[in-house]
Every structure is written in C-alpha cells, then in structure tokens.
C-alpha cells in the first residue's frame, strides 16, 4: 500500500529542502520528456520502448504510455504547475514541494522502474 506524503511536515533544513527541490526538478525533466514522446505521434524510440517492455501481454509500450498520460493528466498538470512556480522564482511551501516531489517520483516510477536520485 502506497503511503501518502506528510504534507504538513516542514523540511528540517535548507539542505534537505534543496535536495528535494533538485530531485523534483530532475524528475520533472524526465516527466516532460515522457509527455513529449507520448504527444509526438511518432514511433517510440528504442530506449524508451525497452523501458516500457513490462507491459501486459497484448498491451504495447505505446498503449501503456498513452494510458499513463490520459489517466494521470490532472496529476501531471499539478506537478508542472509547481515546477513552473519554482522556475518563476517563487518559493513554494514545504508542503507543496514535498507533495510535488512525491507525486513526480511516483508518476515516473510507473513508467521507468529506476529511482530518481
């Protein structure tokens, strides 16, 4: 069972917050790449196809990616909104950063089993 993040917990230090911020932005880059590939209507590149090979029998990497984008559209929008606020120089709250980081990491894990560090 997936444990939700504690959105009321503040970061213990600026260093801890900075690490979460860096990981979040890194995860956003990967999410952005996946979304671009999903919307491109071109055949999946081989390296990405390999990552999606765990699809069920009868399923295809393209279908899996298309399903992911459609199913988690709202969550992706929320994550990118937080990223945009950061990129515009706003300091988002600890709760928002913690939630956005958690969400981005888990959205990514659904596609590629490699943890983002």
């Amino acid at each position: 069972v997936l444990e939700p993040p504690d959105l009321k917990r503040v970061f213990g230090s600026e260093r801890e917050r900075g690490r979460a911020l860096a990981e979040f932005l890194l995860a956003c880059l990967a999410l952005d790449d996946w979304q671009t590939v999903a919307f491109s209507r071109r055949p999946l590149p081989q390296d990405r196809r390999a990552l999606l090979q765990s699809a069920e029998p009868g399923d295809s990497p393209e279908l899996k990616l298309g399903r992911w984008v459609a199913l988690y559209e709202d969550e992706l929008i929320a994550v990118f909104e937080s990223r945009n606020r950061i990129e515009h120089g706003l300091r988002i709250s600890d709760g928002e950063l913690r939630g956005a980081h958690w969400l981005a990491t888990h959205l990514l894990e659904l596609l590629q089993p490699v943890a983002v560090t």
Binding site: L2, V10, L90, S93, D94, W102
Partner: protein
C-alpha cells in the same frame, strides 16, 4: 559590441528598465531620511489601506517581521504595486504606492488575501513566517537588519519554532494535495 552604433542597447545602466532597481537608487522618493525607514513604510501602508476603504488596520511585529492587515484588499487583487511605482486615485496626483519600496529594500516580502499567499520577495526567512490568512489583505515584510525595531533584538536571536510556523502558498499547496489524493485513489482502484 562596444564600437557598434547599437552598443548603448547593451548597457543595462543606459535604460533603467527594472523599476525595483531604480527605486533602490532613489530611496528619497519614499523616505524623508533618504533611506528605508520602517516607521515611515508602516505609516504609508496604513495610509494606503485607509484610503483604499479599510475600516480596521492592524499592525503586528514578530520575529523581525512587520505585518499590516486591513479588512479590505486595498490593492484590489493586483500585486503589480510590488514591482513598480504605481499611483492610485485616492492618493492624489503624483502619488505612489509604497509596496515597491518594500520589494526594493526589505529582505523578504509576502502578501496574502483570502485567495492565498503570494511571495513577493523570497528569502530563507520566509518559512519562519506565521500562516497568513485574511479576509482583506495582509502585507508582511522583513526590514533590512539595521532597520529592524530595537524591541525585536531578542527575536532576531531566537530559534525559529518550525513546528508552529509554516508558509502556506494557497492554491498551489491545495492543488498538489488534491493531486496526491487523486493519484492514491487511482492506485488503489488499479
């Protein structure tokens, strides 16, 4: 490009396009002593709020922060006054809202309405700020260190009690919270 006829376009000092930077060089536009003065800033903000229709204005000082809360939003939902000198009708001819001076001279500036918190100027101190919520508008600022009132000397050295202090960024936090809940729901039903 120094010998180009266009060279002046590459000299940022030739065109003061950044309003906040310009205000930094002209403290005398707002303050009689030609430097940021906390009391004058408070007085100008109170003046703006009352001219904007406020019936009650509250001034708080805590942990070095100064906050002014009014029962109406004297900026009418627009935070542009934090980024450029803007005149306002009730202030009369040649008036200027003082919010831009806070952005120019203070270490951190935050404002809030019932719609949420807007962080105007970031700083590591912002997380020390109390949750802000108001039906009208609150403007909170952290004056430059040398300008903080003497009564707050003790507060300057106090350890922040992070368990009771937290910045809430209104809609952003709510949106992420809803997205996390939605994600978990989808995972459980999968």
């Amino acid at each position: 490009v120094s010998d180009s006829k266009f060279s002046r376009y590459h000299d940022p000092s030739a065109f003061p396009l950044n309003a906040v930077e310009t205000v930094k060089r002209h403290a005398e536009w707002f303050f009689a002593g030609k430097k940021f003065d906390t009391s004058e800033a408070i007085s100008l903000l109170v003046q703006e709020a009352t001219r904007g229709g406020a019936g009650a204005v509250k001034i708080d000082t805590e942990r070095g922060w100064v906050s002014i809360t009014a029962d109406v939003d004297w900026l009418e939902g627009d935070v542009a006054a934090f980024f450029a000198p803007l005149s306002y009708l009730a202030g009369g001819r040649n008036s200027s809202r003082v919010e831009v001076a806070l952005t120019a001279f203070c270490d951190a500036v935050v404002t809030a309405t019932s719609k949420g918190v807007f962080e105007v100027k970031s700083g590591e101190h912002v997380t020390e700020l109390h949750e802000l919520s108001t039906e009208g508008r609150t403007v909170a600022f952290l004056p430059p260190l040398e300008e903080r009132p003497p009564s707050l000397e003790e507060a300057k050295t106090a350890q922040p009690q992070t368990t009771t202090l937290r910045l809430v960024q209104g809609e952003g936090a709510e949106r992420i919270s809803a997205a996390v809940a939605s994600f978990l729901e989808k995972q459980q039903s999968a």
